[in-house]
Symmetry: C2
Protein backbone atom coordinates (compact mmCIF):
# COMPACT_ATOMS: atom_id res chain seq x y z
CA UNK A 1 0.00 0.00 0.00
CA UNK A 2 1.17 3.55 -0.64
CA UNK A 3 0.85 5.39 2.68
CA UNK A 4 1.62 8.97 3.66
CA UNK A 5 2.15 9.96 7.28
CA UNK A 6 1.82 13.62 8.22
CA UNK A 7 3.82 14.28 11.39
CA UNK A 8 7.18 12.56 11.78
CA UNK A 9 7.51 12.71 15.57
CA UNK A 10 7.69 9.72 17.90
CA UNK A 11 4.36 8.20 16.84
CA UNK A 12 4.54 9.08 13.13
CA UNK A 13 8.09 7.79 12.75
CA UNK A 14 7.30 4.63 14.75
CA UNK A 15 4.36 3.99 12.40
CA UNK A 16 6.61 4.51 9.37
CA UNK A 17 9.09 1.95 10.71
CA UNK A 18 6.33 -0.56 11.49
CA UNK A 19 4.57 -0.24 8.13
CA UNK A 20 7.73 -0.18 6.04
CA UNK A 21 8.74 -3.44 7.76
CA UNK A 22 5.45 -4.90 6.41
CA UNK A 23 6.43 -3.96 2.86
CA UNK A 24 4.39 -0.76 2.48
CA UNK A 25 5.74 2.33 0.82
CA UNK A 26 5.54 5.12 3.41
CA UNK A 27 6.14 8.80 2.68
CA UNK A 28 6.56 11.41 5.43
CA UNK A 29 5.49 15.00 5.74
CA UNK A 30 6.34 17.48 8.47
CA UNK A 31 6.52 21.26 8.78
CA UNK A 32 9.63 20.68 10.89
CA UNK A 33 12.25 20.01 8.19
CA UNK A 34 14.80 18.70 10.70
CA UNK A 35 12.35 16.14 12.16
CA UNK A 36 11.40 15.02 8.66
CA UNK A 37 15.02 14.65 7.60
CA UNK A 38 15.92 12.75 10.77
CA UNK A 39 12.96 10.40 10.31
CA UNK A 40 13.98 9.62 6.74
CA UNK A 41 17.62 9.17 7.73
CA UNK A 42 16.64 6.59 10.35
CA UNK A 43 14.58 4.65 7.83
CA UNK A 44 11.08 5.57 9.00
CA UNK A 45 10.06 6.87 5.56
CA UNK A 46 10.98 6.25 1.93
CA UNK A 47 10.77 9.88 1.00
CA UNK A 48 9.44 13.31 1.87
CA UNK A 49 6.25 14.58 0.24
CA UNK A 50 4.17 17.77 0.41
CA UNK A 51 0.68 17.75 1.91
CA UNK A 52 -1.06 17.77 -1.47
CA UNK A 53 1.14 14.90 -2.64
CA UNK A 54 0.42 13.01 0.59
CA UNK A 55 -3.25 13.43 -0.18
CA UNK A 56 -2.89 11.44 -3.41
CA UNK A 57 -1.56 8.32 -1.64
CA UNK A 58 -3.87 5.35 -0.90
CA UNK A 59 -3.87 6.02 2.83
CA UNK A 60 -3.24 9.28 4.68
CA UNK A 61 -2.33 9.12 8.37
CA UNK A 62 -2.45 12.27 10.51
CA UNK A 63 0.08 11.90 13.34
CA UNK A 64 0.10 15.50 14.57
CA UNK A 65 -1.32 17.22 17.69
CA UNK A 66 -5.11 17.42 18.04
CA UNK A 67 -5.46 21.02 16.87
CA UNK A 68 -3.42 20.31 13.73
CA UNK A 69 -5.46 17.14 13.04
CA UNK A 70 -8.67 19.19 13.22
CA UNK A 71 -7.26 21.88 10.93
CA UNK A 72 -6.16 19.25 8.40
CA UNK A 73 -9.54 17.51 8.48
CA UNK A 74 -11.25 20.81 7.68
CA UNK A 75 -8.84 21.30 4.77
CA UNK A 76 -9.48 17.75 3.51
CA UNK A 77 -13.17 18.67 3.23
CA UNK A 78 -12.42 21.16 0.44
CA UNK A 79 -13.77 18.84 -2.30
CA UNK A 80 -10.44 17.84 -3.89
CA UNK A 81 -9.88 14.07 -4.27
CA UNK A 82 -8.78 12.30 -1.08
CA UNK A 83 -7.35 8.85 -0.28
CA UNK A 84 -9.77 5.98 0.35
CA UNK A 85 -8.50 5.87 3.95
CA UNK A 86 -7.73 8.81 6.22
CA UNK A 87 -6.66 7.82 9.73
CA UNK A 88 -5.75 10.06 12.65
CA UNK A 89 -3.96 9.09 15.86
CA UNK A 90 -4.83 12.08 18.07
CA UNK A 91 -5.89 11.14 21.59
CA UNK A 92 -9.47 12.46 21.62
CA UNK A 93 -12.26 11.27 19.39
CA UNK A 94 -15.17 13.72 19.84
CA UNK A 95 -13.40 16.90 18.61
CA UNK A 96 -11.81 15.00 15.73
CA UNK A 97 -15.16 13.58 14.58
CA UNK A 98 -16.68 17.05 14.83
CA UNK A 99 -13.93 18.48 12.58
CA UNK A 100 -14.21 15.59 10.12
CA UNK A 101 -17.96 16.04 9.61
CA UNK A 102 -18.95 13.80 6.71
CA UNK A 103 -15.42 13.47 5.31
CA UNK A 104 -15.40 10.22 3.35
CA UNK A 105 -12.96 7.47 4.25
CA UNK A 106 -12.10 8.95 7.64
CA UNK A 107 -11.51 6.71 10.66
CA UNK A 108 -10.76 8.43 13.97
CA UNK A 109 -8.41 6.35 16.12
CA UNK A 110 -6.07 6.38 19.12
CA UNK A 111 -3.19 3.95 19.65
CA UNK A 112 -2.50 3.45 23.39
CA UNK A 113 1.23 3.59 22.84
CA UNK A 114 4.12 5.77 23.84
CA UNK A 115 7.55 5.78 25.39
CA UNK A 116 9.98 8.13 27.08
CA UNK A 117 11.17 10.95 24.91
CA UNK A 118 9.88 12.76 21.85
CA UNK A 119 10.75 13.08 18.22
CA UNK A 120 11.84 10.61 15.54
CA UNK A 121 15.09 9.79 17.36
CA UNK A 122 13.02 7.90 19.96
CA UNK A 123 10.88 6.09 17.36
CA UNK A 124 10.42 2.36 17.84
CA UNK A 125 8.08 0.17 15.78
CA UNK A 126 7.56 -2.09 18.83
CA UNK A 127 5.64 0.49 20.89
CA UNK A 128 2.30 -0.60 19.38
CA UNK A 129 2.80 -4.32 19.90
CA UNK A 130 0.19 -5.85 22.19
CA UNK A 131 -1.38 -2.45 22.96
CA UNK A 132 -5.01 -1.50 22.35
CA UNK A 133 -5.68 0.84 19.43
CA UNK A 134 -9.11 2.45 19.73
CA UNK A 135 -11.01 3.25 16.53
CA UNK A 136 -14.37 4.67 15.46
CA UNK A 137 -16.20 2.39 13.08
CA UNK A 138 -16.56 4.02 9.63
CA UNK A 139 -16.64 3.44 5.91
CA UNK A 140 -12.91 2.70 5.58
CA UNK A 141 -12.85 0.52 8.65
CA UNK A 142 -11.48 -2.61 6.95
CA UNK A 143 -8.40 -0.91 5.54
CA UNK A 144 -7.84 0.81 8.89
CA UNK A 145 -8.04 -2.47 10.81
CA UNK A 146 -5.50 -4.03 8.47
CA UNK A 147 -2.98 -1.21 9.01
CA UNK A 148 -3.58 -1.18 12.76
CA UNK A 149 -3.16 -4.95 12.97
CA UNK A 150 0.12 -4.79 11.05
CA UNK A 151 1.69 -2.70 13.82
CA UNK A 152 1.00 -5.51 16.31
CA UNK A 153 -1.68 -3.48 18.13
CA UNK A 154 -5.13 -4.94 18.68
CA UNK A 155 -7.93 -2.76 17.32
CA UNK A 156 -10.69 -1.99 19.83
CA UNK A 157 -13.91 -0.20 18.79
CA UNK A 158 -15.08 2.23 21.49
CA UNK A 159 -17.77 4.89 21.30
CA UNK A 160 -16.16 8.36 21.03
CA UNK A 161 -17.71 9.97 24.12
CA UNK A 162 -16.89 6.95 26.31
CA UNK A 163 -13.32 6.95 25.00
CA UNK A 164 -12.79 10.63 25.71
CA UNK A 165 -14.20 10.32 29.22
CA UNK A 166 -12.07 7.24 30.00
CA UNK A 167 -8.75 8.70 28.82
CA UNK A 168 -9.17 11.55 31.31
CA UNK A 169 -8.65 8.86 33.95
CA UNK A 170 -6.10 6.58 32.29
CA UNK A 171 -4.02 9.11 30.36
CA UNK A 172 -4.61 12.74 31.40
CA UNK A 173 -4.54 12.02 35.14
CA UNK A 174 -1.14 10.21 35.15
CA UNK A 175 0.23 12.90 32.83
CA UNK A 176 -0.85 15.81 35.05
CA UNK A 177 0.34 13.93 38.11
CA UNK A 178 3.83 13.53 36.65
CA UNK A 179 3.94 17.27 35.90
CA UNK A 180 2.85 18.10 39.46
CA UNK A 181 5.40 15.68 40.93
CA UNK A 182 8.19 17.14 38.80
CA UNK A 183 7.39 20.63 40.08
CA UNK A 184 7.20 19.49 43.70
CA UNK A 185 10.46 17.57 43.43
CA UNK A 186 12.14 20.49 41.66
CA UNK A 187 11.53 22.72 44.69
CA UNK A 188 13.66 20.35 46.79
CA UNK A 189 16.07 19.05 44.18
CA UNK A 190 18.91 21.29 45.34
CA UNK A 191 18.78 20.11 48.96
CA UNK A 192 21.81 18.13 50.15
CA UNK A 193 21.62 14.39 49.48
CA UNK A 194 18.76 14.52 47.00
CA UNK A 195 20.87 14.09 43.84
CA UNK A 196 22.57 11.07 45.44
CA UNK A 197 19.36 9.11 46.09
CA UNK A 198 17.51 9.43 42.81
CA UNK A 199 16.69 5.86 41.81
CA UNK A 200 14.47 3.94 39.40
CA UNK A 201 11.27 4.63 41.38
CA UNK A 202 11.47 8.40 40.92
CA UNK A 203 12.70 8.00 37.38
CA UNK A 204 9.63 5.95 36.48
CA UNK A 205 7.26 8.33 38.27
CA UNK A 206 8.66 11.30 36.31
CA UNK A 207 8.84 9.60 32.92
CA UNK A 208 5.70 11.30 31.57
CA UNK A 209 6.78 14.74 32.78
CA UNK A 210 8.95 15.06 29.66
CA UNK A 211 5.87 15.14 27.44
CA UNK A 212 5.44 17.93 24.91
CA UNK A 213 3.11 20.83 25.52
CA UNK A 214 2.38 21.07 21.79
CA UNK A 215 0.68 17.69 22.04
CA UNK A 216 -0.97 18.16 25.44
CA UNK A 217 -2.19 21.76 25.20
CA UNK A 218 -5.01 21.04 22.72
CA UNK A 219 -6.05 17.90 24.65
CA UNK A 220 -6.31 19.71 27.99
CA UNK A 221 -8.19 22.59 26.35
CA UNK A 222 -10.92 20.10 25.43
CA UNK A 223 -11.20 18.31 28.76
CA UNK A 224 -10.36 20.96 31.36
CA UNK A 225 -13.33 20.45 33.68
CA UNK A 226 -13.17 16.67 33.55
CA UNK A 227 -9.42 16.56 34.20
CA UNK A 228 -9.71 19.14 37.00
CA UNK A 229 -12.30 17.01 38.84
CA UNK A 230 -10.01 13.98 38.75
CA UNK A 231 -7.04 16.01 39.99
CA UNK A 232 -9.15 17.33 42.87
CA UNK A 233 -10.16 13.79 43.74
CA UNK A 234 -6.55 12.65 43.75
CA UNK A 235 -5.53 15.64 45.87
CA UNK A 236 -8.10 14.53 48.48
CA UNK A 237 -6.65 11.02 48.35
CA UNK A 238 -3.16 12.43 49.02
CA UNK A 239 -4.48 14.47 51.92
CA UNK A 240 -6.13 11.44 53.43
CA UNK A 241 -2.86 9.49 53.22
CA UNK A 242 -1.04 12.48 54.71
CA UNK A 243 -3.48 12.55 57.62
CA UNK A 244 -2.94 8.82 58.24
CA UNK A 245 0.83 9.35 58.19
CA UNK A 246 0.68 12.32 60.53
CA UNK A 247 -1.57 10.35 62.92
CA UNK A 248 0.82 7.34 62.69
CA UNK A 249 -2.18 5.22 61.80
CA UNK A 250 -0.42 2.10 60.55
CA UNK A 251 -3.73 0.23 60.17
CA UNK A 252 -5.10 2.84 57.78
CA UNK A 253 -1.89 2.96 55.77
CA UNK A 254 -1.73 -0.82 55.65
CA UNK A 255 -5.29 -0.92 54.28
CA UNK A 256 -4.39 1.69 51.65
CA UNK A 257 -1.38 -0.30 50.45
CA UNK A 258 -3.38 -3.54 50.30
CA UNK A 259 -6.24 -1.86 48.43
CA UNK A 260 -3.80 -0.29 45.97
CA UNK A 261 -2.12 -3.61 45.28
CA UNK A 262 -5.41 -5.41 44.68
CA UNK A 263 -6.69 -2.56 42.48
CA UNK A 264 -3.61 -2.58 40.29
CA UNK A 265 -3.90 -6.33 39.86
CA UNK A 266 -7.57 -5.94 38.91
CA UNK A 267 -6.97 -3.07 36.50
CA UNK A 268 -4.28 -4.87 34.56
CA UNK A 269 -6.01 -8.24 34.63
CA UNK A 270 -9.13 -6.66 33.17
CA UNK A 271 -7.16 -5.14 30.31
CA UNK A 272 -5.48 -8.40 29.27
CA UNK B 1 34.17 -14.93 49.67
CA UNK B 2 31.67 -16.92 51.73
CA UNK B 3 28.58 -14.73 51.99
CA UNK B 4 25.21 -15.32 53.68
CA UNK B 5 22.14 -13.31 52.70
CA UNK B 6 19.24 -13.18 55.14
CA UNK B 7 16.03 -12.45 53.22
CA UNK B 8 15.55 -14.09 49.82
CA UNK B 9 13.01 -11.68 48.31
CA UNK B 10 13.57 -9.53 45.23
CA UNK B 11 16.64 -7.71 46.56
CA UNK B 12 18.18 -10.64 48.45
CA UNK B 13 17.81 -13.04 45.54
CA UNK B 14 19.08 -10.43 43.05
CA UNK B 15 22.16 -9.98 45.24
CA UNK B 16 22.67 -13.74 45.37
CA UNK B 17 22.58 -13.93 41.58
CA UNK B 18 24.97 -11.00 41.19
CA UNK B 19 27.54 -12.24 43.72
CA UNK B 20 27.42 -15.87 42.63
CA UNK B 21 28.16 -14.67 39.10
CA UNK B 22 31.35 -13.08 40.53
CA UNK B 23 32.43 -16.44 41.94
CA UNK B 24 31.38 -16.00 45.56
CA UNK B 25 29.72 -18.73 47.57
CA UNK B 26 26.34 -17.33 48.69
CA UNK B 27 24.02 -19.03 51.19
CA UNK B 28 20.42 -17.92 51.74
CA UNK B 29 18.26 -17.72 54.82
CA UNK B 30 14.57 -16.86 55.03
CA UNK B 31 11.75 -17.56 57.49
CA UNK B 32 9.54 -18.05 54.41
CA UNK B 33 10.53 -21.59 53.37
CA UNK B 34 8.82 -21.28 49.97
CA UNK B 35 10.70 -18.07 49.09
CA UNK B 36 13.97 -19.66 50.18
CA UNK B 37 13.34 -22.79 48.13
CA UNK B 38 12.33 -20.76 45.06
CA UNK B 39 15.45 -18.60 45.36
CA UNK B 40 17.72 -21.64 45.54
CA UNK B 41 15.89 -23.32 42.65
CA UNK B 42 16.47 -20.26 40.45
CA UNK B 43 20.17 -20.25 41.26
CA UNK B 44 20.32 -17.25 43.57
CA UNK B 45 21.95 -19.26 46.39
CA UNK B 46 24.16 -22.32 46.73
CA UNK B 47 22.34 -23.57 49.77
CA UNK B 48 20.04 -22.76 52.67
CA UNK B 49 21.50 -22.02 56.11
CA UNK B 50 20.13 -21.15 59.54
CA UNK B 51 20.70 -17.71 61.08
CA UNK B 52 23.46 -18.91 63.43
CA UNK B 53 25.19 -20.64 60.51
CA UNK B 54 24.82 -17.48 58.39
CA UNK B 55 26.56 -15.63 61.19
CA UNK B 56 29.68 -17.73 60.77
CA UNK B 57 30.21 -16.73 57.12
CA UNK B 58 32.75 -14.05 56.14
CA UNK B 59 30.03 -11.56 55.22
CA UNK B 60 26.44 -11.36 56.45
CA UNK B 61 23.94 -9.33 54.42
CA UNK B 62 20.58 -8.40 55.92
CA UNK B 63 18.04 -8.03 53.07
CA UNK B 64 14.85 -7.93 55.13
CA UNK B 65 12.42 -5.13 56.04
CA UNK B 66 13.64 -2.35 58.33
CA UNK B 67 12.04 -3.70 61.52
CA UNK B 68 13.57 -7.14 60.95
CA UNK B 69 16.98 -5.58 60.21
CA UNK B 70 16.84 -3.70 63.52
CA UNK B 71 15.80 -6.84 65.43
CA UNK B 72 18.66 -8.82 63.85
CA UNK B 73 21.20 -6.11 64.63
CA UNK B 74 20.18 -6.20 68.30
CA UNK B 75 20.58 -9.98 68.26
CA UNK B 76 24.03 -9.70 66.63
CA UNK B 77 25.12 -7.57 69.59
CA UNK B 78 24.81 -10.57 71.93
CA UNK B 79 28.58 -11.10 72.12
CA UNK B 80 28.81 -14.25 70.00
CA UNK B 81 31.36 -14.15 67.15
CA UNK B 82 30.20 -12.27 64.06
CA UNK B 83 31.46 -11.95 60.47
CA UNK B 84 34.05 -9.29 59.69
CA UNK B 85 31.42 -7.58 57.49
CA UNK B 86 27.73 -7.11 58.26
CA UNK B 87 25.83 -5.15 55.60
CA UNK B 88 22.16 -4.19 55.54
CA UNK B 89 20.14 -2.95 52.59
CA UNK B 90 17.13 -1.41 54.38
CA UNK B 91 16.08 1.97 53.06
CA UNK B 92 16.66 4.16 56.12
CA UNK B 93 19.99 4.73 57.82
CA UNK B 94 19.29 6.51 61.11
CA UNK B 95 17.14 3.78 62.75
CA UNK B 96 19.49 1.06 61.54
CA UNK B 97 22.56 2.82 62.96
CA UNK B 98 20.69 3.31 66.24
CA UNK B 99 19.92 -0.43 66.44
CA UNK B 100 23.49 -1.38 65.48
CA UNK B 101 25.05 0.70 68.25
CA UNK B 102 28.73 -0.20 68.37
CA UNK B 103 28.32 -3.52 66.53
CA UNK B 104 31.70 -4.25 64.97
CA UNK B 105 32.00 -4.68 61.21
CA UNK B 106 28.60 -3.18 60.46
CA UNK B 107 28.06 -0.99 57.39
CA UNK B 108 24.57 0.47 56.91
CA UNK B 109 23.69 0.82 53.24
CA UNK B 110 20.88 1.35 50.72
CA UNK B 111 21.00 0.28 47.07
CA UNK B 112 18.79 2.54 44.93
CA UNK B 113 17.47 -0.41 42.98
CA UNK B 114 14.17 -2.12 42.39
CA UNK B 115 11.80 -3.34 39.75
CA UNK B 116 8.17 -4.28 39.30
CA UNK B 117 7.05 -7.22 41.37
CA UNK B 118 8.20 -8.86 44.55
CA UNK B 119 9.80 -12.09 45.64
CA UNK B 120 12.64 -14.20 44.22
CA UNK B 121 10.71 -14.95 41.00
CA UNK B 122 11.32 -11.32 39.93
CA UNK B 123 14.99 -11.33 40.94
CA UNK B 124 17.44 -9.90 38.41
CA UNK B 125 21.16 -9.32 39.05
CA UNK B 126 21.07 -6.34 36.63
CA UNK B 127 18.90 -4.11 38.84
CA UNK B 128 21.94 -2.71 40.66
CA UNK B 129 23.96 -1.89 37.55
CA UNK B 130 24.69 1.81 37.20
CA UNK B 131 22.58 2.70 40.25
CA UNK B 132 23.83 4.54 43.33
CA UNK B 133 24.29 2.45 46.47
CA UNK B 134 24.46 4.65 49.56
CA UNK B 135 26.65 3.54 52.46
CA UNK B 136 27.73 4.74 55.89
CA UNK B 137 31.50 4.80 56.28
CA UNK B 138 32.62 2.29 58.91
CA UNK B 139 35.29 -0.17 59.97
CA UNK B 140 34.42 -2.78 57.32
CA UNK B 141 34.02 -0.21 54.57
CA UNK B 142 36.60 -1.70 52.19
CA UNK B 143 35.00 -5.14 52.04
CA UNK B 144 31.56 -3.50 51.67
CA UNK B 145 32.73 -1.34 48.77
CA UNK B 146 34.14 -4.39 47.01
CA UNK B 147 30.85 -6.30 47.29
CA UNK B 148 28.80 -3.25 46.26
CA UNK B 149 31.05 -2.60 43.27
CA UNK B 150 30.74 -6.21 42.13
CA UNK B 151 26.98 -5.75 41.61
CA UNK B 152 27.66 -2.95 39.12
CA UNK B 153 26.31 -0.29 41.49
CA UNK B 154 28.42 2.75 42.33
CA UNK B 155 28.96 3.24 46.08
CA UNK B 156 28.07 6.72 47.35
CA UNK B 157 28.83 7.80 50.94
CA UNK B 158 26.05 9.99 52.36
CA UNK B 159 25.48 11.14 55.93
CA UNK B 160 22.61 9.14 57.50
CA UNK B 161 20.31 12.02 58.42
CA UNK B 162 20.69 13.63 54.98
CA UNK B 163 19.99 10.29 53.31
CA UNK B 164 16.83 9.66 55.30
CA UNK B 165 15.50 13.16 54.64
CA UNK B 166 16.25 12.90 50.90
CA UNK B 167 14.58 9.50 50.37
CA UNK B 168 11.32 10.94 51.70
CA UNK B 169 11.33 13.01 48.51
CA UNK B 170 12.81 10.58 45.99
CA UNK B 171 11.39 7.30 47.22
CA UNK B 172 8.54 7.68 49.76
CA UNK B 173 6.74 10.41 47.81
CA UNK B 174 6.54 8.49 44.49
CA UNK B 175 5.55 5.36 46.42
CA UNK B 176 2.68 7.05 48.28
CA UNK B 177 1.61 8.79 45.10
CA UNK B 178 1.30 5.47 43.26
CA UNK B 179 -0.83 4.10 46.12
CA UNK B 180 -3.09 7.17 46.03
CA UNK B 181 -3.39 6.98 42.23
CA UNK B 182 -4.27 3.28 42.36
CA UNK B 183 -7.08 3.99 44.84
CA UNK B 184 -8.42 6.92 42.80
CA UNK B 185 -8.31 4.91 39.58
CA UNK B 186 -9.94 1.91 41.29
CA UNK B 187 -13.02 3.99 42.09
CA UNK B 188 -13.56 4.55 38.35
CA UNK B 189 -12.12 1.34 36.95
CA UNK B 190 -15.54 -0.24 36.38
CA UNK B 191 -16.86 2.66 34.27
CA UNK B 192 -17.51 1.86 30.61
CA UNK B 193 -14.50 2.28 28.33
CA UNK B 194 -11.87 2.44 31.07
CA UNK B 195 -10.57 -1.12 30.68
CA UNK B 196 -10.19 -0.51 26.93
CA UNK B 197 -7.92 2.52 27.24
CA UNK B 198 -5.37 1.39 29.81
CA UNK B 199 -2.01 1.99 28.17
CA UNK B 200 1.68 2.19 29.03
CA UNK B 201 1.35 5.62 30.73
CA UNK B 202 -1.00 4.38 33.44
CA UNK B 203 0.91 1.13 33.73
CA UNK B 204 4.12 3.01 34.48
CA UNK B 205 2.40 5.38 36.92
CA UNK B 206 1.00 2.44 38.91
CA UNK B 207 4.12 0.29 38.86
CA UNK B 208 5.09 1.10 42.46
CA UNK B 209 1.57 0.48 43.79
CA UNK B 210 2.33 -3.25 43.86
CA UNK B 211 4.93 -2.74 46.60
CA UNK B 212 4.73 -4.80 49.77
CA UNK B 213 3.38 -3.36 52.98
CA UNK B 214 5.76 -5.56 54.99
CA UNK B 215 8.62 -3.53 53.53
CA UNK B 216 6.93 -0.11 53.60
CA UNK B 217 5.15 -0.20 56.96
CA UNK B 218 8.32 0.12 59.07
CA UNK B 219 9.71 2.84 56.77
CA UNK B 220 6.58 4.99 56.99
CA UNK B 221 6.41 4.51 60.74
CA UNK B 222 9.82 6.23 60.98
CA UNK B 223 9.12 9.13 58.65
CA UNK B 224 5.40 9.86 59.03
CA UNK B 225 5.59 13.61 59.62
CA UNK B 226 8.18 14.19 56.90
CA UNK B 227 6.27 12.13 54.32
CA UNK B 228 2.95 13.77 55.26
CA UNK B 229 4.36 17.25 54.64
CA UNK B 230 5.54 16.27 51.16
CA UNK B 231 2.16 14.71 50.32
CA UNK B 232 0.39 17.90 51.45
CA UNK B 233 2.71 19.92 49.25
CA UNK B 234 1.96 17.71 46.25
CA UNK B 235 -1.78 17.89 46.95
CA UNK B 236 -1.53 21.70 46.75
CA UNK B 237 0.34 21.35 43.46
CA UNK B 238 -2.48 19.18 42.09
CA UNK B 239 -5.07 21.69 43.25
CA UNK B 240 -3.22 24.50 41.54
CA UNK B 241 -3.14 22.53 38.26
CA UNK B 242 -6.84 21.72 38.71
CA UNK B 243 -7.62 25.41 39.15
CA UNK B 244 -5.69 26.26 35.98
CA UNK B 245 -7.60 23.56 34.08
CA UNK B 246 -10.97 24.70 35.39
CA UNK B 247 -10.14 28.30 34.46
CA UNK B 248 -8.95 27.16 31.00
CA UNK B 249 -5.71 29.01 31.64
CA UNK B 250 -3.58 27.59 28.85
CA UNK B 251 -0.71 29.95 29.67
CA UNK B 252 -0.47 28.66 33.23
CA UNK B 253 -0.67 25.02 32.13
CA UNK B 254 1.92 25.63 29.43
CA UNK B 255 4.30 27.10 32.01
CA UNK B 256 3.72 24.10 34.29
CA UNK B 257 4.54 21.62 31.50
CA UNK B 258 7.66 23.54 30.50
CA UNK B 259 8.85 23.81 34.10
CA UNK B 260 8.25 20.10 34.65
CA UNK B 261 10.22 19.16 31.55
CA UNK B 262 13.17 21.34 32.49
CA UNK B 263 13.09 20.08 36.09
CA UNK B 264 13.15 16.45 35.04
CA UNK B 265 16.06 17.11 32.73
CA UNK B 266 17.92 18.86 35.57
CA UNK B 267 17.17 16.16 38.13
CA UNK B 268 18.43 13.34 35.96
CA UNK B 269 21.39 15.28 34.59
CA UNK B 270 22.52 16.05 38.12
CA UNK B 271 22.41 12.37 39.08
CA UNK B 272 24.58 11.18 36.19
Amino acid sequence: MRIAVVGTGLIGASLGLAWRACGHSVAGQDLDAAALEAAIAMGAFDEAVGFEEARRREALVLAVPLDAVCAMLLRLRDGAPNPALILDVASLQVPVLRAAGDLEGFVASHPMAGREGNGPAQADPAIFRGQPWIYQPGAAQEAALRLIGETGAHPVPLEAELHDRAVALTSHLPQLLAVALARAVARHAGEPGVAEVVGPGLHGALRLARAQWSMWGPLLAQQGARDAALLEELARELQSLAAALAAESQAELHAAFDEAKISVGDIFRRTK
